[in-house]
Symmetry: C2
């Protein structure tokens, strides 16, 4: 561990971008006027060849330094003395870019007594894909006069964006690092589906038309708690919690009604932890955005529209590094290794590494120093 | 595959037993008058030394041949030409034994205008443990003049009962086979907790006071769907479903509202499968019983009340076979192997086998022939 101060790193600029015209989506819908919220750390140099795009994961934001601070303190990674780092909030999210909580322009009735107002998209928000986001990200960077990226890096949904950048815009990116990302397999698709149903089961969801301040808290918390199980590993949970009773003093052997908790009963420590993770998440995330982004995650498939994944990979000109995480059961390391083999087969200059960690999928957040050690040589080439 | 007719094997007798007095529970509650529903296949011989108790898993019943039919067609296992097979429904379940849907004697008011009626236990049903069930099972067998069992066999919660039989009543059992059973680890405890919360999130649960015919269908279906994920393996799901769209013709790429399904959206095939498994389960299981039995499963811990698991195992006189399932992630094979090592250390004549299967925890139901092949030599000794 190097000694790094815990000072929050602030962006040098935060802004919003809109292409100023309707945007047609891969799945068939249209966003009449999408907005991208972005954050910039450091500055582009004169040649604008020092720009790194960091693509965020499901619940992240454009403010990269808020969720990946230690990569900023690593020379040769996101150090802003040498690099300009840009983060862009996903369309479909709830941190500044257009999402289900944004006003649906179609709902604005100019003849109404409040002609300027309208309703949020809510359940009418269309399916937005990873590729849609990448295409919009390119438009934003064009606007900023950034025509080529030194590096696109991301993990999970961020890694999906990185891969689509390499495939869809081969001329525009020099180097790509994708961590713990691949098309979801059946188990992951199933668990995402169940998470969406938990939100919808909450009567407060109201078919997606809940009011601000009255979100489906319990459903979203429960979905997050299940997601946390998929982001961590059984090994880590066993090490941390094993069969300990809840640290708040509950006795798992008490009869249900004795502690007034209904039949769910007094908890083991792991249950208290999952509940806490769920409750915290509700304070910072929107339920409909969660539905939208998990579907974005589900539909990621680089082969879509090509004869095969390999055919898609043949388009890649960037140097690619794929990182699997040894204990990741949402995106198994073996699947990442297969994708790397397929890229090599397709002629991609693809480097493959495995992050050995018990932290599961979340290792990209939980083990930033180990991750940095693994990817630095590639990023510094 | 041998050729076996699909004829349903009927019990030679089904009945109910009550000890006729209040029963004090391990966790501290009392059941004033518990009933055990049981089924017998074949007949005890004159010495009553041919009796096999088959302990059922979470959603099973006393009617063993309904859920484990192929073990009845295997000579040397449950063939009723030579053996008398008995199944006993768990207290806490909903197939005839006392459970949350039974009338709570405390709710019967003799002064009411309907003196004979009362309310179901519902959320007042006390915590009943594996050991409580085993103690009651011994009482029932005493009543039937069966003082010693040739074999206790079970998988999952059934395997937990088998282990407690060996520890608590060492004189009463000759041989024990426990399949895919061990104290739940943190991941399993967490996922059971989330399943209970799904049921409770359903407004139809009504604090456990739902009316017959108006159960929390969606919550219970969702809990079962998650349980199915824990009972199967990622490998099996990937082989069967991969990223295929729902076989009913839904397009995972359709926008949510296009098919009128809310934001959860059109499904992948795995999602359709999980939904179907959930819906089927609701037709045959009670939500409060699900809460009660998952807590019974959570609290299983052979070491409880002893200095260690090994100290508990030292009581065992039976020959034991522990079977792990290679792809089981609810009760990992490595954990079963450790328990076997601990039994050996404690001086138990313990045999350990691993069922190699991609079917996950469910392999004990999905691969009966393979299982039979593995355990027959031990059972025939």
């Amino acid at each position: 561990m190097s000694s790094v101060s815990a000072t929050v790193i602030a962006p040098s600029f935060e802004g919003d971008f809109s292409p100023g015209e309707a945007f047609s989506l891969e799945a068939g819908g249209v966003l009449p006027s999408p907005t991208l919220h972005y954050a910039i750390y450091g500055r582009p140099n004169a040649a604008a060849d020092n720009v790194i795009f960091v693509a965020h994961a499901l619940s992240g934001s454009a403010r990269v330094a808020d969720w990946w601070p230690r990569l900023f303190s690593q020379e040769g990674l996101l150090d802003t003395d040498h690099n300009c780092v840009i983060g862009i909030n996903l369309v479909g999210s709830c941190y500044g870019s257009t999402g289900p909580a944004s006003i649906d322009p179609a709902s604005i009735n100019p003849a109404s007594i409040n002609p300027g107002t309208g309703d949020p998209y809510g359940p009418q928000f269309p399916l937005v894909s990873i590729r849609d986001n990448v295409r919009l990200q390119v438009r934003l960077l064009e606007e900023l006069n950034i025509h080529r990226l030194k590096l696109v890096i991301g993990a999970s949904i961020g890694g999906m964006q990185a891969i689509e950048w390499a495939i869809q815009f081969p001329q525009r990116v020099e180097r790509v690092v994708s961590i713990g990302a691949a098309p979801l397999q059946a188990m992951g698709l199933g668990l995402n589906h169940l998470q969406r149903q938990m939100i919808q089961l909450d009567p407060a969801w109201k078919g997606g038309r809940y009011l601000p301040g009255q979100p489906p808290r319990q459903g979203l918390a429960l979905a997050r708690a299940l997601a946390v199980c998929t982001y961590k590993s059984a090994e880590l949970f066993e090490h941390r919690f094993a069969r300990k009773p809840d640290r708040g003093g509950e006795d798992p052997w008490a009869s249900f009604h004795e502690q007034g908790q209904g039949l769910s009963g007094p908890r083991f420590d792991i249950a208290g932890y999952l509940d806490y993770q769920g409750e915290r998440f509700v304070e910072r995330f929107d339920a409909n955005a969660y539905l939208a982004i998990t579907r974005m995650m589900d539909t990621f498939d680089p082969a879509r529209g090509y004869a095969s994944a390999e055919a898609a990979f043949r388009r890649i000109e960037a140097e690619v590094m794929l990182v699997g995480i040894s204990s990741d059961w949402l995106f198994p390391a073996a699947q990442i290794a297969e994708m790397a083999a397929s890229m090599l087969q397709a002629g991609v200059r693809c480097d493959h590494r495995e992050l050995i960690s018990s932290h599961g999928h979340d290792a990209f957040l939980a083990e930033p120093d180990e991750l940095a050690r693994l990817i630095r040589p590639f990023c510094l080439q």
